[in-house]
């Protein structure tokens, strides 16, 4: 058995590294490394850079302007971007809506919306969760009633990530309240400048406002913005979720995070020595690193199966659980490492993107610990993932 990558894959890795070295400004990478929140312009800048290189949509077919990377290439690409502290690609148009339109959208929808995702003409957000529909997504209540050439939409979505920047939202709405709950749902594209759409920020415990509530009051949506067939939205939603789970293991983020922990622990002093020399702390770091090394191979095993044409179905649950556990453990190590200096609340510094005043990036570490509690909640909570995974094991 050979766990090394092929020469072609290694050549691709070198190509990605060269691109990142050239295209990613160090000032931007530095802000990502310090857990500082990025503005809309930062994301748009990075999308444009990737688009120029043809790598903005790694998983889209070439016919739609994508890079059509193999699963291994995608894995390498994601890992290198994370290690270089590149901004995360905002996934809503690229990883979520794009694949749905390519599979279920009309020719007209594909021709109009897909190029606009690549060019950045539209910023999409996701209208899935509702106050009463979280883990039980199919319980959603937002109502769409047909009225001539329009649907009239009323209801509320929540946890809408970066909705404050978006001009478009794709929504799951209930079009048949009498059908079984999964069978009365449709998939609608809604222009957020339509009268009756209201976005309200939700402040989180780390002080940031990356998520929002989106309210719909008698919002008129043209019927051509229905994707696929009416009442078939659940099928499209499930298809989208399989794409949402791409790069779910976050191996690159974990590697970057662990490197940050080691850098902090090399700088923080305890009785005049570097903290990393403390055997107890070193053991904590080593334990996580051992888990991560194994998980990276698990990830590669699953990803390479997909490369041979076998879709990573149920295994994505495994990757989500283990990947998020490791990422959360790393944020815990970081807060321990900075010790008392984790106390100052750095929200203002984060928002204004000013450099943190401390010598070892202490400022945003605790905020990052709290922010990343979301990893085991969103995209199907880890309890839901265990449910899916255990059911499949027990079915045999």
């Amino acid at each position: 058995m050979d766990l090394t990558l092929s020469p072609e894959a290694e050549a691709f890795r070198a190509e990605v590294r060269a691109f990142l070295a050239d295209a990613l400004p160090s000032e931007l990478a530095d802000r990502v490394r310090r857990h500082q929140s990025l503005g809309k312009a930062d994301h748009e800048f990075w999308h444009a850079k990737l688009n120029e290189r043809g790598w903005l949509a790694p998983n889209w077919p070439k016919a739609f302007g994508g890079a059509e990377m193999s699963a291994i290439e995608r894995h390498i690409f994601d890992e290198e971007c994370a290690l270089a502290h590149a901004p995360r690609v905002v996934p809503f148009g690229l990883s979520m809506l794009g694949p749905v339109l390519q599979k279920f959208g009309s020719k007209a929808q594909q021709d109009y919306w897909l190029p606009r995702i690549l060019s950045g003409a539209d910023w999409w957000c996701q209208g899935y969760s509702e106050p009463g529909a979280g883990s039980d997504l199919a319980a959603l209540k937002t109502r769409a009633v047909r009225d001539g050439d329009h649907y009239i939409v009323n209801g509320q979505k929540t946890w809408t990530t970066l909705g404050q920047h978006a001009n478009m939202i794709f929504c799951l709405v209930r079009t048949d309240p009498d059908a079984k709950k999964q069978e009365g749902i449709s998939f609608l594209l809604i222009d957020m400048s339509t009268p009756g759409v209201e976005v309200r920020p939700i402040k989180l415990i780390d002080g940031g406002a990356e998520v929002n509530e989106v309210w719909f009051t008698d919002v008129r949506v043209p019927v051509e913005n229905l994707v696929g067939e009416e009442n078939k939205g659940w099928t499209y939603a499930k298809y989208l979720l399989t794409h949402e789970r791409t790069n779910i293991s976050g191996v690159g983020f974990s590697r970057a995070g662990l490197a940050a922990v080691k850098r902090i622990a090399a700088n923080v002093r305890q009785r005049g020595e570097a903290l990393i020399e403390n055997p107890h702390f070193a053991a904590r770091v080593a334990q996580v690193e051992i888990d991560l090394r194994a998980m990276a191979v698990t990830n590669l095993r699953i990803v390479s199966k997909a490369a041979a044409g076998q879709a990573p179905g149920i295994e994505s649950s495994l990757l989500k659980i283990k990947g998020t556990q490791i990422r959360q453990e790393i944020t815990d190590l970081a807060r321990r490492a900075v010790g008392p200096m984790a106390m100052p609340f750095e929200s203002e510094a984060v928002e204004s993107n000013t450099p943190l005043p401390d010598p070892f990036d202490a400022g945003a570490v605790a905020g990052s610990f709290f922010n990343n509690r979301k990893l085991s909640i969103f995209g199907g909570s880890n309890e839901i993932q265990r449910e899916i995974y255990s059911k499949s094991i027990l079915r045999g």
Binding site: Q270, R271, P344, F345, G367, S376, S381
Partner: protein, 346 residues
């Protein structure tokens, strides 16, 4: 044997009633209610001062998640001034607003690591994360008059006025909602309080660590209580989510953690000022660090997204519990202390 005295029961009931209504930092009201007096013995003008008294007061403050800096601005300064034989009436009345400026960046959690220096009555150095600093009128500042960082001898305790020349503050809010500042002293004039302050600092920090643990216990119990309420009311898939076994078992583990924490706090409270004080308090802080993390993380997880919102009280409790691990020594610091003290006992 685990019952509170009549006075402690009255104190607890009064605190529960008052804190339920209190909003924001309740310093003045708590002082008026005499709560600061409960932190000190009669000999020093108080009416309490036992481990059990501290546990009663701080458990309720933690449960209410009140940002009042009672440990840093009343308990610690009072114990230190008391050790120097000074009058505590202003501290107990809440009118003498002091803050202890001891910790330094390079010290991490070690009390003997003081780099700040004093000579000819003037202090020069940096103090980190001084809780209560923005509202303090005077600071108790530690500085080294002899020896090197890590030496037990040579650390003096001094009073520095907040408006003293050569003293500047960089103020901020902490993650868990307290007001704090980093202090820079440059030849700031100081008055000597204690020539050799480390033994008094260690005794005061023992009480402060117990108080912090009781605070965390109260916050943990409240977080577990809110999670129980949420699991019985939140409906998904047509039923209360607490009926899902995987979630119910997580709640059971949270409650187990709270019970373990309560026992550790009781033990530490009973040991305060006794021969087992240091090892029991180290054990308590280590256990609270581990159990607190479990409760805070699971409380957020079982609440889902709502547990991460700033508006909902659970998030503030979780931050208070986790950040308590960054005050008075973290889980690892106290594990190492426990190991060292265990060896000493053998």
């Amino acid at each position: 044997m685990f019952d509170l005295t009549e006075e402690q029961t009255m104190l607890k009931d009064m605190l529960v009633r008052f804190l339920a209504e209190a909003e924001g930092d309740a310093w003045s009201e708590l002082a008026e209610l005499g709560v600061i007096g409960a932190l000190f013995p009669e000999a020093q003008g108080g009416f309490g001062g036992s481990g059990a008294d501290l546990a009663v007061v701080f458990e309720e403050i933690g449960r209410a998640c009140n940002p009042v800096p009672l440990i840093e601005c009343a308990l610690l300064p009072g114990l230190l001034l008391g050790a120097a034989g000074q009058d505590l009436s202003g501290v107990i009345a809440g009118t003498d607003k002091l803050a202890l400026a001891h910790a330094e960046v390079a010290a991490r959690y070690d009390l003997d690591w003081v780099e700040t220096e004093v000579s000819d009555g003037r202090i020069t150095g940096d103090k980190a994360v001084v809780t209560g600093a923005p509202t303090a009128a005077r600071f108790l500042v530690t500085a080294r008059h002899s020896g090197a960082p890590g030496d037990r001898n040579g650390i003096g305790l001094y009073l520095v006025d907040a408006d003293a020349p050569g003293l500047s503050l960089n103020a901020y809010q902490t993650i868990d909602g307290a007001q704090a500042a980093d202090l820079t002293l440059s030849d700031a004039p100081a008055t000597l309080v204690l020539e050799e302050a480390l033994p008094a600092l260690e005794r005061a920090y023992a009480a402060a660590t117990l108080a912090q643990c009781a605070d965390t216990l109260g916050a943990m119990e409240q977080a577990a209580h809110m999670t129980r309420e949420y699991l019985t009311t939140r409906q998904q898939f047509g039923r209360a989510i607490g009926t899902f076994q995987s979630l119910a078992h997580r709640l059971a583990d949270m409650m187990l953690a709270v019970e373990q924490a309560r026992s550790a706090v009781l033990l530490a409270a009973a040991s305060l000022n006794g021969p087992e004080q240091d090892i029991d308090i180290a054990a308590c802080k280590n256990l609270l660090g581990r159990m607190g993390r479990l409760v805070a993380e699971d409380a957020i997880q079982l609440h889902g997204g709502i547990g991460m919102t700033d508006e909902y009280a659970l998030g503030r409790l979780a931050k208070r519990i986790i950040m308590a691990d960054h005050r008075f020594g973290d889980t690892d610091h106290h594990l190492e202390r426990f190991i060292a003290l265990s060896k000493g006992a053998a």
